[in-house]
């Protein structure tokens, strides 16, 4: 009994500092975001006026907000699909096949991940250049007309390309780590049974690293929301005419220009709930029995 009490108090003592820090730096600010979203408050005027759900009612009528949410969701879906597909294929090739310079490719794919977003946006500014850019030069070579990559029609696609390019390496390394843990005997017996490489990939590799894929899906949602803010700020400033604006950037700008802190926090609440809901949904949908090997 006594040792149990000592054990409990020791655990409490160990946990308390972390709990206090978590409460001060995570719980309290989050609570404050929810509280402020019900108030009207400007940045430099400490007077807070309680206005209930009015900020949220205004949000539903705000066309730019709706557009920025649409852009955010579109980016989440497209970046997730393209990055996951390519990262899985590359990881599969690099772990299962014997290719010359394997570690060289691994490094090359990972490099974009350690570059700063500002550098990446500089690189893509050159790639997307209308007259002398890499992409338009290739198009011109085949007689096609140059594309306005950062124009209203293609700006989201341009962001997707840059974001996928940046993210592939990170997820590829994660998938490679779990793929290399899959026992080689499974592939050998599959081969004897006559299964081809593609079948092996879908029947053995994917089911066995499913837990890992599920975890990365949550990562995709959260990191795309954050990275989209950085990429859009650096590459397009949300333009032309809000065509590439995303929810976090809109929240940041509203704090300064439009509706003040209260309104910006209401946007924050919506982003919070959407990302939370989306992660929960994805988690539920991808639920499978864990395969052991």
């Amino acid at each position: 009994m006594k040792s149990n009490f000592r054990r409990t108090s020791f655990i409490c003592l160990c946990v308390i500092p972390a709990v206090i820090l978590f409460a001060i730096f995570m719980v309290a600010p989050t609570f404050n975001v929810f509280r402020l979203s019900l108030y009207q408050r400007s940045t430099f005027n400490p007077n807070e006026v309680f206005i209930g759900m009015k900020n949220f009612q205004m949000l539903m009528k705000d066309a730019t907000f709706i557009r920025s949410m649409q852009n955010m969701l579109l980016l989440i879906v497209m970046v997730t699909v393209f990055t996951m597909a390519t990262a899985l294929v590359f990881a599969g090739i690099l772990t299962r096949e014997k290719i010359r310079g394997q570690s060289f490719f691994r490094v090359v794919f990972y490099i974009p991940n350690i570059l700063s977003v500002v550098v990446i946006s500089g690189i893509f500014s050159a790639i997307y250049d209308i007259d002398r850019g890499l992409l338009n030069s290739i198009l011109n070579l085949f007689g096609a007309e140059g594309v306005l990559w950062k124009g209203e029609k293609h700006v989201i696609m341009s962001l997707v390309i840059a974001m996928v390019w940046q993210a592939i390496g990170y997820y590829m390394v994660m998938y490679m780590a779990s793929m290399s843990a899959v026992p080689g005997s499974l592939y050998e017996s599959a081969e004897i049974d006559g299964a081809e490489r593609v079948t092996q990939f879908f029947q053995i590799t994917i089911p066995l690293i499913w837990t890992n894929i599920r975890t990365t899906l949550t990562f995709f949602i959260i990191s795309t929301i954050n990275m989209a803010f950085l990429f859009v700020s650096a590459m397009t400033s949300g333009g032309p005419n809000n065509a590439s604006n995303v929810a976090l950037l809109y929240m940041y700008n509203q704090k300064n220009l439009g509706g003040g802190y209260g309104y910006a926090m209401a946007i924050g609440v919506v982003i919070f709930l959407v990302s939370f809901g989306l992660s929960a949904l994805v988690n539920k949908v991808t639920e499978r029995d864990i395969l052991e090997y």
């Binding site: 009207q40 400007s42 940045t43 430099f44 005027n45 900020n55 205004m58 949000l59 705000d62 730019t64 907000f65 946006s121 500089g122 500014s125 250049d129 209308i130 306005l148 990559w149 950062k150 124009g151 209203e152 029609k153 700006v155 650096a234 590459m235 397009t236 400033s237 333009g239 032309p240 005419n241 809000n242 065509a243 700008n253 509203q254 300064n256 220009l257 439009g258 509706g259 003040g260 309104y263």
Partner: protein
């Protein structure tokens, strides 16, 4: 007894010395915090002016300069730690000055303008050129009280390649009819009539254009969100010009009209891909690096926004210095603001190309600036001011209402009717929330 008196006197003397010393020490010990935005003029000018101010008044200056001054100031200011003097410009994306106007957090400069400049025997108000202290930027509440001191100014207008015009024998247009004619001629040679760095540059351009269409009366009607202003004859002319100009704009412009690629749009004027762009005198410094890469002849030219019923107008853009209402040393801050208009400070600023709206400043101009700043002597009228300040409206601000939709207008994704509709709806909201 004698000893006691001597002792008493000695103590009294030491104490009085200490008190006097204490008083003079505290006056000398005042340190004011000055925060200034670092722009193309550099930050050394501010260090030099601060040193000159210290030498003149004995008041110490703790100087902060930064290219993103708002990021440095916002946090401390929210905690109630205000600098004593801030030098910044309105219309920046972070909108710090505008937020303080909305929060009534600026100190009125009525007394400051009446101060005698330290080291001189002239009043501040006597030195500032006319029109700079009573426009709706520095007196945002419409009550005639000035809250910001006008600082470095720059005539804005349409910039072009003078050499190209000389080579082709083209005249610089002074009316919009001539402008369209020139646009057609240029189109035959594969040159677009117009481009702009970012849609934000439409502010100075549109302010001048409003004046060029209907004079200050029409400008005031639009910028105070008067009902029916956009439906008036002048309003329709403004919309028609914006619409036609969009069709004459280089099609690549909107795709490059962001903070990263705007110099590519500016370069189009230098490489003869476009004829005109709205800009300010800082453009020469900003694009100096591109001069060496040019294969064609080039020299900067600048003209006013052509007339459309009124005279050609050039918008006068200027930065501002102000004192936050929460500043600790208001009296000393006022001294500093007054000192900014001294001959010593003006000369330091002018040496970096930063021209203040001080009477007789023209004598300090050098190089291309002589040409640019003489725009008002060559027939163009000066436009000044901006959109009237209004309270917070969720999702609505000046830039996204009036300027950024120009990108879509040029790209053809919205029509001029869509633009007019949005402008009118938002103007009505701004009218209902006018400050002052």
């Amino acid at each position: 007894m004698k000893k006691f008196v001597t002792l008493l006197l000695t103590v009294a003397m030491i104490m009085s010395l200490a008190i006097c010393g204490g008083v003079s020490a505290s006056a000398d010990d005042v340190t004011i915090k000055v925060a200034a935005i670092e722009t193309a003029y550099g930050s050394q000018v501010w260090a030099d002016v601060a040193a000159a101010f210290e030498a003149e008044t004995g008041i110490k200056v703790e100087l902060t300069t930064d290219q993103n001054l708002e990021d440095v100031l916002t946090g401390p200011m929210q905690n109630g730690e205000f600098p004593d003097v801030v030098h910044l410009a309105t219309g920046r994306p972070a909108g710090l000055t505008e937020q303080l106007v909305k929060a009534n957090a600026l100190y009125p400069l009525t007394d400051t303008l009446a101060l005698t400049i330290p080291g001189e025997d002239v009043k501040v108000s006597d030195k500032i050129a006319g029109g700079f202290t009573d426009n709706n930027i520095v007196a945002p509440y419409g009550d005639g009280v000035t809250y910001m001191a006008p600082m470095f100014y720059s005539p804005c207008g349409l910039f072009y390649n003078e050499k190209l015009f000389a080579e082709k024998g083209w005249e610089v247009p002074t009316t919009w009819d001539e402008m369209w004619e020139l646009g057609d001629k240029a189109a035959e040679e594969g040159i677009a009539l117009f481009t702009y760095p970012t849609a934000g540059y439409y502010d100075a351009f549109m302010f001048a254009l409003m004046n060029a269409i209907g004079g200050p009366e029409f400008f005031n009607a639009i910028t105070t969100y008067e009902e029916g202003a956009w439906d008036s004859e002048n309003g329709q002319t403004l919309l028609a010009i914006l619409d036609k100009l969009a069709s004459y704009t280089h099609p690549s412009t909107p795709a490059q009209a962001n903070n990263q690629d705007f110099t590519k749009n500016q370069l189009m004027v230098m490489t003869n891909d476009a004829l005109f762009m709205p800009n300010g005198t800082w453009i020469t410094g900003e694009m100096a690096g591109a001069l060496e890469t040019l294969e064609n002849d080039f020299a900067w030219g600048m003209t006013a926004v052509p007339a459309a019923g009124e005279a050609p107008y050039s918008f006068c853009w200027f930065e501002q210095a102000w004192i936050p209402a929460g500043a600790e040393h208001i009296a000393e801050a006022e001294q500093f603001v007054a000192f900014l208009y001294s001959d010593v400070a003006a000369e330091i600023f002018a040496s970096a190309g930063a021209m203040q709206p001080i009477l007789g400043i023209a004598d300090m101009l050098e190089g291309e600036n002589v040409l640019f700043y003489s725009i008002y002597d060559n027939g163009a009228k000066a436009a000044m001011g901006g959109f009237a300040a209004f309270g917070e409206i969720p999702g609505v601000d000046v830039s996204s209402t009036f300027f950024t939709p120009i990108d879509s207008l040029v790209a053809g994704t919205i029509t001029i009717d869509d633009y007019a509709e949005q402008v009118k709806t938002n103007s009505a909201m701004m009218r209902d929330n006018l400050l002052g």
